[in-house]
Symmetry: C2
Subunit: 209 residues, 2 copies
């Protein structure tokens, strides 16, 4: 069956709320309560879950632990994912130092840069390699995800190289509207883009509250 992409985007939110409930030692939760916590309607949660199976018990709700487990399996969060970082400037270093990846099973296992001055540097236990070596390094040691943290001017060409190396999921921090072929997944992780759409609403609703 073909699952609507928006549904897939909501599942990680559900896992997040379920983790919180689990650490509160809650055993059961209803779509109603989950919905209130997340700002999503209960009907939507039930419909979303129904694409994958029947996880609830009528009259009771969902077993927190079991549902969390199912969702993690569905999303592929029950294993480790290997990532390559391209660009170890200011932003790239911050990404390398980010502690939120590892506990969720995401690990940066290779780092690249185009600047020869940075090649060879040791950062967080990784030796920075030249971006010219991308192809050989990734074929010797493949990754699942590419993280792009290079200047806008070279971002598209870096993305093209990653795609050529078989990377099918890319996290793009560069401020460009990058193109990828069908079948490659790209997510823009870029604060300015998010800000620029919020300003529209700020501008159009003056006064407090």
């Amino acid at each position: 069956m073909e699952i609507p992409p928006v549904v897939i985007d909501r599942l990680p939110l559900y896992t997040r709320a379920l983790s919180a409930l689990e650490s509160e030692a809650r055993e059961v939760v209803s779509s109603q309560e989950l919905g209130t916590r997340l700002g999503v309607t209960p009907a939507q949660i039930r419909k979303d879950l129904s694409y994958f199976g029947r996880f609830g018990k009528q009259g009771r709700g969902y077993n927190v632990h079991k549902l969390l487990d199912e969702l993690q399996r569905i999303l592929g969060l029950d294993r480790q994912w290997r990532m390559a970082l391209v660009g170890v400037g200011k932003l790239g270093r911050a990404i390398l130092g980010y502690e939120g990846f590892t506990p969720q099973g995401f690990r940066i296992v290779q780092a690249f840069d185009t600047d020869p001055k940075r090649v060879g540097e040791q950062l967080n236990g990784l030796t920075v390699k030249s971006a010219d070596e991308l192809e050989s390094a990734l074929s010797a040691n493949p990754v699942d995800v590419g993280i792009v943290a290079v200047p806008a001017e070279i971002a598209q060409s870096v993305i093209n190289t990653l795609v050529k190396c078989g990377v099918r999921a890319i996290l793009n921090y560069a401020p460009i509207a990058a193109q990828v072929p069908r079948g490659v997944h790209l997510k823009r992780i870029e604060p300015v883009l998010a800000l620029q759409s919020m300003t529209y609403y700020l501008k159009n609703s003056r006064g407090p509250a």
Copy 2:
């Protein structure tokens, strides 16, 4: 007229592509070409723009400079936006040091933390204030946007305080599914969330390309 939210989310992409075209000294662009650059259909671009006016010339296309100007005005990007950062740990410092905000008219003008050890510190020209002072500091010196970079456990309460202080746009870096009242805009800027939905597709399409 009520503009579909998805349309507003696309406008910043259009401004980005138009800026690129402008720096290439292109005078005119068609919806066809803009669409190819962005991976959006030409019809969608024309429809989106038609919500706001008639900016094109039949048989020719759109004047790059004029359209960019119009979109920036529509989105409110023709002025400065003031932001407050809450949380100056590792992540918060990286955000303070990010150079992508200023050229786009976004400026962090206040920084807060709950940890007394960090209060008083000088960072990027700002003196870190105690989170207890949020209310008084923001009423003396209001901001348009709040940036939340605190641990998950206290993120919701920080967000509540920001909302109480009249902040109506929030960029949330904390890994929680935060709640905000209607009328407040919140964007999740969180790499793990983006990764966790991409893994679904990776898991479900084995083999190269």
